[in-house]
Amino acid sequence: MSTRSSHAEVAVPGEPTQTGTALLETATGTIQGFAPINSIHQHLCAFHFYAHDMSRQVEAHHFCAHLNEDVRQCLIFDSPDASARLIGVEYIVTEPLFLALPDDEKPLWHSHEYEVRGGYLFLPGVPGPVERRDLEKVAKTYGKTIHFWQVDRGDALPLGIPQLMMALTRDGQLREDLAEDVEKRFGVSFEKERKNREYMSGPDPGIHPLANAAGKGLKTELRETELAPPASMSGVFV
């Protein structure tokens, strides 16, 4: 079964990895420490869309680690394959931590309740009962997702500025072709899973009105800034 997504058509420009380089990396991969990476224990598949454009949607493979019981950090790739492109990051926090965020920060975060209860967010390869024990927690969390590589518009390289992403919040948003493609490739049925997840609930007081781009939209813009002069720095430098 191929898990390769339709996004993976455009090859990253460059020569194939040389043997010497590959050998060196096999060596460094064995000798060096990779503790932060080794903390990553979970693969989660979901969908994101651009915070300024719901029509542009991306299949997002999250590789997540717990920083503690309330905070997770995820690397987002465009597929679960070895050749996957690193397209973004997501941070996930429980509700109390979300509530403590400044009000001008909250809109950058999105709720997870709908996509979890809807069955659209899943752990490939993990049996339902096990998956659900974690997802019932995820349903109550908020996430902040930033993408750096706009693979959905065919970019062969990570061009441009970071993009804020949002998640599904109700029926009718997710593109049917994307949904069907993922269901087929991973052998899952969102509709079936929805029934199993009916018992789950989102944040107890409901979804915060400032989350999900405060119900509007968000975009990023690049700005040139003046640099502070070096006068403040003194002493001997490297």
Binding site: G14, P16, S39, T225, V238
Partner: protein
């Protein structure tokens, strides 16, 4: 408006106080239950893209909008081909390290194909490597040498999503563009940051620099990279409200 630049206004429980290093993220200790779930899932899931990260490099980065703000950065790099690496960047090499951003690294050949507007967001690596600031912990210098000579000719694009150096206990604001250390005053890394790193890793940046004196340098560095050097300007990213193009009701 949330910006990658400095935040004005009162601090909350999530924004830290002065000082570098930042404080721990808020939250309870990871429960046994979560550990078990994690391990269980990991046993069933291949996590292939993450297994491709086979190089750990430690270096320093400067905020593009404020070069005086400097951080130690631990890169975990996966190679997609001879000309391209993608890195998850953390603030330390420990298991509890915070994911602070992502860096992409391309060869000079690939860099030259980018439009000038894009090139401005990238930085060069030659100085960082030749000065000994960049090191691959645990790898004998001679073994690293060929790879370092290649990396010295590459360009990087580094977005920081968690500004731990200003004490943020959670990732706040829009992402910040980062730049690399350079040979001019504004681009130099503060000695105490280097000293602290060297002590932790048991290395000497000074010794590395000496041993790399003979290392090949790129003949030419594209002047669009390290934009602040030629133009005296930095970059910041702002997150601004806008009307979302919708295909269905939202939220």
């Amino acid at each position: 408006m949330a910006s990658s630049g400095e935040k004005a206004g009162p601090r909350t429980a999530v924004e830290g106080g002065e000082g570098g290093g930042g404080s721990l993220p808020p939250g309870r200790g990871t429960t046994v239950g979560s550990h078990v779930l994690d391990k269980g899932a990991a046993a069933l899931q291949a996590l292939r893209p993450v297994r491709q990260m086979k190089q750990h490099a430690c270096s320093f980065a400067l905020y593009a909008h404020d070069l005086a703000r400097q951080v130690e950065a631990h890169h975990y790099a996966a190679r997609l081909n001879q000309d391209f690496l993608q890195c998850a960047v953390y603030d330390s090499p420990d298991s509890a390290a915070r994911l602070v951003g992502v860096e992409y690294i391309v060869s000079d050949r690939i860099f030259e194909t980018l439009p000038p507007e894009e090139q401005k967001l990238w930085h060069s690596h030659a100085y960082e490597i030749k000065s000994g600031l960049w090191t691959n912990p645990g790898v004998p210098e001679m073994l690293q040498r060929p790879e370092l000579a290649n990396l010295a000719k590459t360009y990087g694009k580094f977005w920081c999503t968690w500004q731990v150096d200003r004490g943020d206990r959670l990732p706040l604001g829009a992402p910040a563009l980062m730049m690399s250390p350079q040979a001019v005053d504004l681009g130099k890394v503060r000695p105490e940051l280097v000293r602290r790193r060297d002590e932790k890793l048991g290395i000497s940046t000074e010794d590395l620099r000496e041993s790399r004196v003979e290392m090949e340098e790129p003949e030419w560095i594209n002047p669009n990279a390290d934009y602040w050097k030629q133009h005296g300007k930095g970059f910041a990213v702002d997150a601004v409200p806008t009307e979302m193009k919708r295909t269905a009701p939202f939220p």
